[in-house]
């Protein structure tokens, strides 16, 4: 039985008082998770893996003491997928996972709790953490992670992985180390939103929607978390407060301008009423790092095609930020519009603001609060959350290009987005502001 089918069969036993004492079955070997997936304003998917085939139970509530609502998925599995439903938006829930009504594997407490997303629409301060090409599972990846944790001092509200999430082949064991173990504590509290990179694709196939990447993630195909149904986990969208997120598959899905993904993207952009639009995918439309977006042959033409075919749709739809990885460095553009050719074809009029985008520099990047097509977007390559590599780093659309480890933080508060690139020792290596007025 597929994971999705099991999810739909998940049985809800609400408000069932447990008759047995809440003992911890410490002997049970948990081999992955728990980790959260596909949050909506009224539901959350909790997944985990056990060494032996077991039943899947979750108990949850508004406090650790009242975490007594019981949900189970029928059957016995090593791969457990349970969806909690009928939750309230913007509310913290505490949970424990187990394999029987009195066999609990985890404690109930703040470490095992999550906040459901707020209702889409109204603004609220939101912190987004984006990691590009993190999956080396080495000390670089750990340093970037720890630097963010220390710098932030709190969990992000959302986190994104920009592809190449687990090196070198995106195998299940590599995902275990580089994705699930390395960020274990965060996975228990905040759901990860991933996109597929070329290395992930070595163990997964978008054309057949199978393999490790598709097995380990539960992603919205029917607009469950906001956005228009895509019918596939390869590309999808979701809402959080006043932000619309779009995840595209630049690796293994048809990137032609009238392909199915492009058709969906147009309709999805037409359907959103959010104030901010953030799009993320793996192959950067502009890069002169480990990859060269001027070379049509680079990565099978993926960088080129995303730029030529997909960027016009995104910009016409009013996209604000585009986040990518693939080149293992940091490259960040000026406020840009209409640059669909090679770097030699970049003209001054395509750069809508030639400054640094900084409030303490020569001014923040401004866009109209009215959702207007083609008023500029900033394109960020943040592909150094696990390693760096050499490159010319001289794309003329970039305000800044760095061969430095780090990860990206986006703080959105109302009509202001503060974007920062945080280095592996917590250094603020770049920052800029995008403001709508």
């Amino acid at each position: 039985m597929t994971i999705k089918l099991r999810l739909t069969l998940a049985l809800l036993l609400t408000s069932l008082w447990l008759s047995s004492p809440l003992s911890l079955a410490a002997a049970e070997k948990l081999t992955r998770g728990p980790y959260l997936q596909m949050p909506t304003t009224n539901s959350m998917v909790i997944r985990w893996r056990t060494e032996k085939e077991r039943k899947s139970y979750v108990r949850y509530g508004l406090t650790p003491a009242t975490a007594t609502n019981l949900v189970r998925s029928p059957g016995v599995f090593t791969e457990h997928v349970v969806q909690l439903t009928k939750l309230k938006p913007d509310t913290r829930y505490f949970y424990s996972i187990g394999y029987d009504t009195n066999k609990w594997i985890t404690e109930v407490g703040p470490d095992f709790s999550f906040l459901t997303p707020p209702m889409p629409g109204p603004a609220r301060p939101t912190r987004i953490w984006a990691l590009g090409d993190p999956g080396t599972a080495n000390t670089n990846q750990m340093a970037v992670r720890d630097a963010f944790y220390k710098w932030s001092g709190r969990n992000p509200d959302l986190w994104l992985m920009l592809g190449d999430n687990a090196y070198s082949d995106g195998t299940d064991a590599q995902y275990g180390k580089a994705v699930f173990d390395l960020y274990g504590a965060l996975h228990r509290q905040v759901a990860l939103w991933p996109t597929l990179g070329n290395h992930d694709a070595l163990s997964a196939s978008s054309p057949t929607q199978s393999g490790v990447y598709y097995d380990v993630f539960t992603l919205p195909t029917l607009g469950q978390s906001g956005g228009l149904p895509s019918g596939t986990e390869a590309y999808y969208s979701f809402d959080y407060a006043n932000i619309h997120f779009i995840c595209l598959d630049s690796q293994d899905t048809d990137r032609s301008p009238h392909g199915v993904m492009a058709t969906w993207l147009r309709a999805d952009l037409d359907s959103t009423a959010r104030e901010w639009i953030i799009c993320f995918f793996h192959h950067p439309p502009y890069s002169k790092g480990g990859h060269d977006s001027d070379k049509k042959s680079d990565s099978g033409g993926r960088l080129w095609e995303m730029r030529e075919n997909i960027l016009p749709i995104l910009e016409a739809g009013g996209v604000d930020l585009v986040l990518c990885g693939h080149s293992h460095d940091y490259e960040r553009t000026f406020l840009l519009n209409g640059h669909y050719g090679t770097s030699t074809n970049l003209t001054s009029t395509m750069i809508l603001n030639h400054g640094d985008g900084r409030s303490d520099g020569n001014g923040v990047y401004e866009k109209p609060a009215i959702l207007t097509p083609n008023k500029g977007a900033v394109y960020v390559v943040s592909g150094s959350a696990g390693q760096t590599e050499a490159g010319k780093l001289n794309h003329p659309a970039m305000y800044l290009s760095l061969k430095k480890l780090g990860s990206l933080v986006i703080d959105i508060d109302g009509l202001t987005a503060e974007v920062k690139f945080i280095g592996d020792k917590g250094q603020g290596r770049d920052y800029f502001t995008l403001r709508k007025k």
Partner: protein
């Protein structure tokens, strides 16, 4: 461990360095080549390098790897799949069809095999055969993609209008399996319009309307379909509904350039129809 024993390990460490770098395709190819130098007849390694070479568009190298793998393991179907993928990438449709047909003769339940063969057949103007293999892939897959249903309907429709009903039924199979996915419904609406199935097109449009937070564009489309169906009165109602949906939008959305175009378009449509307000009230 003493210095000399460390030194003895140096070649191994150097060999492992590219693996740690996890760089682009050519580095992975170098890694696999290093492994192959130790085990030159390792079929899984040859298949892996063949696949990496294919992804890197090193066609001749990929071909050599797959052919050697086939020679070393004649009963193994995997080299045939690799050869099929490779030939399809190169546009060698006859070769692709031959390899994939032989692959499927051994592995008849392989979803990707059927999809690849269907695509080769479409490009080779053999739509009817392609439909069979799309259908087989769809039947075998627990998680088919909307693209496959659309590709199959295109292959069906490409054989002429008499295949329209079949093409629509295939898209409906997709809706039944995946849910109300707008890309499936948009493809179906285009086919419905071709056979003047206006009511059916409207019903399909309603499913998109239901899943879309913003309705104004879909309501405009509704009016257009009604007009084409010779129902101007209902078209006016739909256009008015589009106007109401537009007016319910926050001002920041109403005043966008795209929405200004939308208003102009809606104005023009309403103005061209009888018994309707000539223009939208200006805010």
């Amino acid at each position: 461990m003493n210095f000399w024993r460390w030194l003895g390990l140096l070649p191994l460490l150097l060999l492992a360095l590219p693996a740690l770098a996890h760089g682009p395709l050519h580095e992975q190819i170098t890694n696999v080549t290093a492994e192959l130098s130790l085990r030159p007849n390792d079929v899984p390694l040859l298949l892996r390098r063949g696949e990496l070479n294919r992804l890197d568009e090193r066609w001749d190298a990929a071909l050599a790897d797959f052919q050697l793998a086939k020679q070393l393991a004649p009963a193994n179907p995997e080299p045939l799949l690799g050869l099929g993928r490779l030939a399809l990438d190169q546009g060698k449709l006859t070769d692709a069809t031959a390899s994939l047909t032989r692959f499927l003769a051994i592995q008849s339940n392989h979803v990707e095999g059927h999809l690849l063969l269907a695509r080769a057949l479409v490009r080779n103007q053999r739509a009817s055969n392609a439909v069979e293999h799309f259908s087989r892939a769809l039947a075998l897959s627990t998680e088919p993609r909307p693209e496959w249903f659309i590709e199959r309907s295109q292959a069906q429709f490409s054989q002429g209008d008499r295949h329209l009903a079949e093409a629509l039924a295939g898209l409906d199979e997709g809706v039944a399996k995946l849910g109300p996915v707008p890309t499936l419904q948009l493809a179906a609406i285009a086919l419905e319009m071709r056979r003047q199935g206006f009511d059916a097109a409207l019903q399909r449009l309603d499913t998109i309307l239901a899943s879309s937070e913003r309705k104004e564009r879909w309501l405009l489309r509704r009016g257009e379909i009604l007009e084409l169906g010779g129902r101007p009165g209902e078209a006016v109602t739909a256009y008015n509904a589009a106007r109401e949906a537009f007016e319910a939008l926050p001002l920041r959305l109403q005043r966008s350039l795209a929405m200004l175009d939308f208003r102009r378009e809606l104005d023009a449509k309403l103005a061209a129809l009888p018994a309707s307000p000539k223009t939208l009230p200006t805010k």
